[in-house]
């Protein structure tokens, strides 16, 4: 789905990257633990997170994520938005929580990213 549809479905505000809303995403990763995001083995995914730090945007940048969707009505500080703009990472923000946001996107066809497997625990 296009980022524009992601914004519509989750009723998200586009904080930056309005010109990139035609970008396609078919996978998503929901995490506040940025260490987990760093173990995603795919690119061009939507990062759904409650983190509004500069580090969250930098992780998205290094991982070649398509965009960052911030949940639960949080709003990053101006320098973070400015950094995302410069880095070409669209930032979206929704009032909805993580669970609902991920559920809505999943029901519209977004699928999970794969992670690097860390142990044999739990199959």
């Amino acid at each position: 789905m296009k980022l524009r549809e992601v914004a519509e479905v989750t009723q998200a505000e586009v904080l930056t990257g309005r010109e990139l809303l035609e970008r396609e995403v078919d996978k998503g990763c929901g995490a506040d633990l940025l260490s987990d995001v760093l173990s995603v083995v795919e690119e061009n995914f939507l990062l759904v997170t409650g983190m509004v730090t500069l580090q969250a945007v930098r992780v998205a940048e290094v991982m070649n994520a398509a965009a960052v969707l911030i949940v639960r009505g949080k709003r990053p500080l101006e320098p973070v938005i400015a950094y995302a703009e410069e880095a070409g990472i669209p930032l979206l923000a929704t009032q909805k929580g993580m669970f609902e946001t991920c559920g809505l996107l999943y029901s519209r066809g977004l699928r999970p990213t794969r992670f690097r497997r860390v142990s044999e625990y739990a199959g």
Binding site: D32, L33, L34, S35, D36, L38, S39, E43, M51, T53, L54, Q55, A56, R58, V59, E61, V62, M63, N64, A87, R116, V118, S119
Partner: protein, 136 residues
């Protein structure tokens, strides 16, 4: 955290390094600089770009690592709360560096510091640890 790896990512892209290599080096660097930021008062990260490989060197005069086997275990961490609140320090850093590198050498002396060399090959599939299965 992440300032060095994003900068290195840009340099590698400008040099025309293969996207997959850029990504792996970016992840290794992010994990490495995060460790330096969390555990030490500062360190040095050196990037070397060759025709056939990219190398990252991390060196610090921090507290060193007491148990080298333990830090390679996913989930083991001695990170302080502030690092965890930022979403790091989950005990995945060293395992993730190791998995993204083709060769990974870590030397540490408690009380003296830590040095890491990570290499990512640019040509062919020379990944260490990825067993060549059928058809590979």
């Amino acid at each position: 955290m992440g300032a060095v790896s994003t900068q290195i990512r840009r340099i590698l892209r400008e040099l025309g390094v293969e996207p997959e290599v850029v990504r792996r080096v970016g992840i290794i660097c992010f994990e490495g600089e995060t460790n330096i930021a969390i555990f030490t008062k500062g360190g040095r990260i050196t990037l070397m770009v060759w025709d056939d490989r990219v190398e990252l060197f991390f060196a610090d005069n921090g507290p060193g690592i007491e148990d080298l086997e333990l830090v390679r275990r996913p989930g083991y961490s001695t990170a302080p709360d502030w690092a965890r609140e930022l979403g790091f320090g989950a005990g995945m850093g060293i395992p993730n560096m190791e998995k993204n590198a083709d060769t990974f050498v870590l030397r540490s002396r408690p009380g003296k510091g830590t040095a890491i060399r990570a290499t990512v090959w640019r040509k062919g599939n020379e990944r260490q640890g990825s067993s060549a299965g059928p058809g590979a």
